[in-house]
Amino acid sequence: MGMKVDNDKQVAASNDLISAIQAEFTDEGVTCELRFHAGGKQKRPYVFIECPPEIWLIVAETLSEVHGVDYCSMITGIHWPEKVPEMEWQVVVHLMRMSIQNPKSKDGMLIPTITDASIVQGATMPLELEISIAIPETRTPSIPSVQHIWVGADWNEKETWDLVGIDFDGHKEMRRVLQPHETPAGFHPLQKQHKLRYHEFNEMYDDAQGFMRKSDDIGKVK
């Protein structure tokens, strides 16, 4: 009962996409596998792709044009100082296939596309994709921008550069979005060398105002 996409059909559609990507890109070092969300009642599938930064643009274009992946959900970056040298930076991209067409029109009004979830299949099946791009040790990490493929990636890339410091080649008008415009160049707060300075657990709860703090503690905690 209810409107839903069948899990088995989604697995089959994901496998189709995986075999197509593997056939095309295995030589370039792209690995692709089917994964399942671990929590919840339904173990929903998603496609996991590992892609070297050099061919990310080609993979993205193929996904968009051939496989109908039409929606970029999120682009985010992670700083891994402990994984130097093979992966100091990681860019994680979440894409979705929505299979949206502009609805047909009649007499100047759109006819809503009420998709019956029981009949969507094959290339129109909604899919989740996760793409991991590892960038080796460098002081100026960058990958190609996909802003021209999915315009929704634009502000995600701005945010990733602003907070994590991973640059996107070919991105138009890269600028600070969440931090103030006058933030010093090279300051990206989600990099791991910026530590959060918090009270130790006991101090936080027993003596929040710091009345009992000894003089030699001052300056050590915030």
Binding site: M3, M74, I100, P112, T113, A117, W155
Partner: protein, 378 residues
Amino acid sequence: MAEMWISMGPQHPMTHGLWTLKVKIDGETIVDTIPDLGYIHRGVEKICEARDFTQITPYCDRLCYASANTWSHSYVYAAENLLEVEVPERAEYIRLIAVELQRIASHLMWLGAYCPDIGNLTAFVYCLREREMMLDLLQELGGSRMHYNFPRIGGVKRDLPHGFAMRCRAKVKLFLERIHEYEALLDESTIFLIRTQGVGYAKPEEMVNHGVTGPNLRAGGVNYDVRWAHPYSVYDELDWTPSVERSSVKGADCYDRYRVRLDEMKTSASLVLQALDGIPGGADTYHEPGDPALLGKAPSRASDGQTGFHHFEDPRGESLFYIVGGGDARGKNPYRVSIRSPMFITIPYAAKCMIGYKIADVPAIMGSFDPCIGETDR
């Protein structure tokens, strides 16, 4: 005539929060816009790296002041994917009730804030009257009126209280009656129609490419909803269809976005009523907090390399939490939490939408996308 830039915000009735929209006008026509965000950036993602998994839930409540419950649920689902937690079915039903009540309250808050923007102050009072009922119900569940901290990793904080089902049914049914008052008030108000119809067209395919989802997309005649495309919780066990609006060929205008939200409130109300009927164990039984029917067992640590994410249908679009485990305190903290805010992606698109319209249309177009700056700036 010479073009000039006008800065709307950070304090401006149009903004619904704290941000700036720089508008370039030629006479009265908008020719270019630049949104400027980040005024209330709190660094939630960085704060989360120094908190353990249960401590993060209240922070996620505070991402959005209009729909706190959906954000904490969004986080909890992602954390459950990370920590591999099974949730009892009764807890899933209670969560669904809480989320859908919050969705109604959020849409009512939107309508209540939108109507005064475009010259209909009366609707504000009507909407807050009904929102009050929803907040009363949420208060019974979570104990507070704005930031509930209701879900737990693995379940929910408390069971439905005694008599909740009766009061909830009565209030939701009363609300379904009163929706007709909005329709009478707004759909027959000439001012409202003039300000919203034919303003701010948005094409469906363009919206998908720009990352706009949720009611804003469904207003364009496209039936896409995470709740059926990637079903989570128990949405696949209830009988419902997402509300889709018949828009014109030019795309969805502000009026369509208003209609689809009004319709979605009805869908949410029917989901709540169905969930109260279908909840395993019955809506009138009560379990103590921490009962296995309410709270599954969840580990407190995640090992290196574990990741979890979850797409969630927020009242404003698709929200996404991506969590990497294996952080400080030997895995008790996440290594990285990344939040996808639907409005962060929608606001640039909404700003593009208004190019070509008059400067007086800015509040009508911007408000119709339902901006919430708390989640945008994080």
